[in-house]
């Protein structure tokens, strides 16, 4: 199979370092992965091409890069699939991270954020003689998160990190969830308090990009949502994010649809003048687009029937949350 691989390159040692595109024509086996193609280029055409790679089986996390614009593992991506009928594949370094050389990015900002969530088990109470007793279900649930290989694909394509480098990011927060949900960990309360701060769980915009690009099915965004639920359940309601969520729920339950005027008032507080004033420009921008919410909010017809359904749904979701809350016993 003949491929054209367009690689975004960067050589920091060039007299005037500038990113540029370089095209390689390369012949690979029909079953080849993008990594196979890049290795062939590096071995037979251009030894200066820098990339990280090792295991070839999607477990070491080295070869994450942007392939045709989206982050993924080169070793898990079939060349024939992404080349399509044109036979062209574009390959770039991951986004949201500084480039060191060619496809090699500096993950240090990301590692710093992982460190910031205190990613180690913190049991309280005496250490058991044997293992901690825990249910297999709890361990399997955690395995879904431990499947994360820290390749950085979600970090690369996170739309929040693009505008706010302070955000802890999907991978670090998924890792944080792994401890909060671990029945052996004893400091969930402290963790959730910490993760509720600026840059934490409430800064995700639920764009789903991390769920889409994760090569290991970790679904980081869903872990962030689970952290939000636990934070609220633990009483960490005094953040804009938590108040927004609760206000949303309350307003919808009340009238069957969102009262868009009250939502910001309830989220930020009726007396929080500086914040409300800061929202005025947004309110002004809604005018010409005819998106101004009506000051006379009316419930939907048959709102009582809706409210009954709403409460039933809440009960179901609360019941579903039960199993992971089982505590580890000392064995």
């Amino acid at each position: 199979m003949r491929l054209t691989v367009k690689v975004r390159r960067y050589n920091p040692e060039a007299p005037k370092p500038q990113p540029y595109w370089q095209e390689y024509a390369v012949e690979v086996e029909p079953a080849a992965t993008v990594l196979d193609a890049l290795i062939r280029i590096r071995e037979e055409i251009d030894e200066s091409l820098a990339l990280r790679c090792s295991c070839r089986s999607a477990i070491c996390g080295s070869c994450a890069m942007r392939i045709n614009g989206h982050a993924g593992l080169a070793c898990k991506t079939k060349a024939s699939v992404v080349a399509g009928s044109t036979g062209v594949i574009t390959v770039e370094p991951m986004g949201n991270l500084p480039v060191i050389k060619d496809l090699v990015v500096d993950l240090a900002p990301h590692w710093g954020k992982v460190q910031a969530v205190e990613p180690w088990l913190q049991p309280t109470g005496p250490e058991p003689q044997g293992e901690y007793l825990a249910s297999n279900e709890a361990m399997l649930h955690l395995a879904g998160v431990m499947n994360c290989i820290m390749c950085g694909a979600c970090v690369s394509d996170c739309t929040v990190l693009e505008v706010d480098p302070n955000f802890l990011g999907p991978a670090a927060l998924a890792k944080a969830y792994r401890f909060v949900a671990d029945p052996r960990d004893g400091v969930a309360r402290e963790r959730l308090s910490k993760y509720s701060a600026y840059g934490g769980i409430w800064d995700c915009t639920r764009c789903f990009e991390c769920v889409q690009v994760c090569p290991k099915g970790v679904a980081p965004m869903e872990r962030i949502m689970a952290l939000r639920e636990r934070a609220i359940a633990m009483g960490y309601k005094d953040t804009y994010g938590a108040r927004h969520t609760l206000a949303f729920e309350e307003l919808v339950e009340h009238s069957g649809r969102l009262d868009e005027l009250r939502l910001p008032l309830k989220t930020f507080g009726y007396t929080n003048l500086p914040k409300l004033i800061s929202l005025l420009p947004i309110a002004v921008r809604t005018l010409p687009k005819q998106k101004v919410p009506s000051p006379f909010h009316k419930p939907i017809p048959e709102v009582r029937k809706f409210q009954a359904t709403f409460r039933k749904a809440r009960q179901v979701s609360e019941n579903e949350r039960q199993p992971t809350a089982t505590q580890a016993k000392q064995g």
Partner: protein, 564 residues
């Protein structure tokens, strides 16, 4: 000249080279002893090849199991070449180390009563392999990295160790190239250097090993004068995926998978009627190879059939390999058998150490796959390599930390010498040879002639070819001349070490005129305890390896005939 070598000497009590499980465990333990520790690794710890271990980690935890049974299985698996004092340490300390991993946070699968679940594994008389689905290595590596972060150990990741510094017969440090910064640095390790650089699988092609598994630590130790031991013993894993050659866990057979030939027969009945698919790896790989060579294979492979296990077990315990088969071979393991073949997987031999990780060179310690304690002897049991990394990583880290400090100051001259050496590589003229070409020729030579079955003729041919490659290597140019992330340079440096090691492996294989464990000589098909119940030692000389031999430690299990 000279602007690429740092004048600063980075001084620690203990410097660990390699950040896989053995290296991280050594560092965590050394810190506990209250000394100043650093880790130097050519990749970030989470990229280490320990992550690729799938199936599990052994310990006798069951009510009817015992460390003695585990030890006997290991001795038998080693074809009686393992040192029994070391095997006793491994198996006796295993339960405590597993519990420690669990307390650190490893999410081992559980039994219904909440205790650790254990699965059957090859060559084991008891289900004693603890596991996290089929991502056990990854699950443990990530937890050990968490412990490293918690302990605040500085990690010089993406720093490539280019040489050890030996002063008056003592290893006192090393030189490493900072791949990002493009500079060479001298490290002083006053109490000890711990090598934990993993395996050398890339000497072979194909191999289950990652691209980073180039035997660097073994090569560094060999050049520095330490003894390598039993390098002729190379494990071929029975189930590697057709095409890419990546690993399919032994757990697939542990959970009940069948091996079939082209006639649909469970051929292991002929070779190991009692243990069938769960005989030890050398036995299963030889059986598969025999089936393939005698024409009962399917397109150079045999078949691993998981279909009867059902969706639940496959998705709960074997989901990684389900994905690998689907993504890399286009096979749906729920619907059809997976084509597999034996492939180079693990090096039993390595830098000779005692049970505390001390090598024959004072100040130098080693642990994990790069070391040879020797607990695996002529053939390693599945689930014992992860165990070795934590038990002997811990012991080596502690022993290095407790060693008396050697405080004579070190200059930065070693880094300057390495800069000169690298500049001389850069100065070589292009001659049409490429690093990848030499590596491929080495890999296929080793696979074809130093594989599952060996004989004198093939080994002599292999030796001649490897020596010819060593000649070419002396003139091999580095095509890329940069200093920042120059992977071409790193690969050339790695290749030099691999050619040294390949030579040692062949010379050892040629000398050992018997068949034992993974070393099968067609011309000497029997095990010969009278002449060969001994370890091979290899020492560097400019003319090639000098061999010596050392006795095997036997405590309570006398060699017997081995059958499964």
């Amino acid at each position: 000249m000279g602007d690429r070598a740092s004048d600063q000497v980075l001084t620690y009590d203990v410097v660990v080279v390699g950040a896989g499980l053995a290296g991280m465990r050594a560092a965590v333990e050394a810190v506990r002893q209250g000394v100043k520790v650093a880790v130097v690794s050519k990749v970030h710890p989470l990229r280490s090849h320990s992550t690729a271990a799938q199936g599990g980690i052994n310990a006798a935890l069951g009510e009817n199991d015992s460390w003695e049974k585990h030890a006997f299985d290991t001795v038998k698996g080693s074809d009686y070449l393992g040192d029994q004092d070391a095997i006793e340490v491994l198996c006796r300390e295993a339960p405590q180390d597993i519990l420690e991993l669990e307390h650190m946070g490893v999410i081992f699968n559980r039994r219904p009563d909440g205790r650790l679940a254990q699965r059957p594994f090859g060559g084991a008389g008891f289900p004693r392999t603890c596991y996290v689905a089929d991502i056990t290595g990854q699950a443990i590596v990530h937890v050990m990295w968490e412990q490293l972060l918690k302990a605040g150990v500085p990690v010089y990741d993406e720093w490539f160790a280019t040489s050890l510094v030996v002063d008056d017969g003592v290893c006192v440090g090393l030189v490493a190239l900072d791949l990002r910064g493009g500079r060479l640095h001298t490290f002083q390790a006053t109490r000890g250097v711990v090598l934990a650089t993993g395996g050398l699988g890339r000497i072979y092609q194909p191999t289950t090993n990652g691209i980073i598994c180039t035997g660097d630590g073994m090569a560094l130790a060999y050049r520095a004068g330490a003894a390598l031991q039993d390098m002729e013993f190379t494990q071929f894993h029975p189930t590697t995926l057709k095409g890419s050659g990546v690993l399919i866990t032994e757990g697939a057979r542990g959970e009940g998978g069948y091996l079939l030939n082209k006639n649909g027969e469970r051929f292991m009945a002929k070779y190991a009627p009692k243990m069938m698919e769960l005989a030890s790896r050398d036995v299963v790989s030889r059986a598969e190879m025999t089936e393939i060579l005698e024409g009962r294979g399917v397109d150079g492979c045999v078949l691993l059939d998981l279909r009867h296990l059902g969706r639940k077990i496959i998705f709960e315990r074997l989901y990684q390999i389900y994905e690998l088969a689907r993504d890399l071979a286009g096979v749906d393991a729920l619907q059809e058998p997976i084509p597999i073949r034996p492939g180079m997987h693990y090096q039993m031999g390595g830098v000779k150490t005692d049970v505390n990780g001390a090598t024959t060179l004072p100040g130098l310690f080693a642990a994990g796959e790069c070391a040879c304690v020797s607990v695996h002897g002529a053939n390693r049991l599945g689930g014992n390599s992860l165990l070795e990394t934590v038990v002997f990583g811990r012991r080596a880290g502690k022993a290095a930390a407790l060693r008396e400090a050697h405080t004579r100051p070190l200059s930065s001259a070693p880094a300057q010498d390495e800069e000169k050496r690298i500049r001389s590589l850069f100065a070589r003229e292009t001659n049409g040879d490429r690093c990848a070409t030499l590596r491929r020729e080495m890999g296929t030579t080793m696979n074809d002639l130093v594989g599952i079955f060996r004989d004198a003729e093939g080994l002599k041919e292999a030796l001649a070819r490897i020596r010819a490659l060593k000649e070419r290597y002396q003139r091999l140019p580095v095509h890329h001349q940069g200093w920042v992330f120059n992977t071409d340079l790193v690969q050339v440096l790695e290749l030099g070490g691999m050619l040294d090691l390949a030579e040692v492996m062949i010379v050892g294989s040629l000398a050992r005129q018997e068949s034992r464990g993974a070393h099968s000589r067609r011309d000497f098909p029997q095990r010969d305890d009278v002449h060969w119940l001994k370890h091979t030692l290899a020492f560097y000389t400019p003319e090639g390896p000098r061999l010596d031999y050392a006795p095997v430690t036997i405590t309570r299990w006398q060699p017997q005939e081995r059958s499964y």
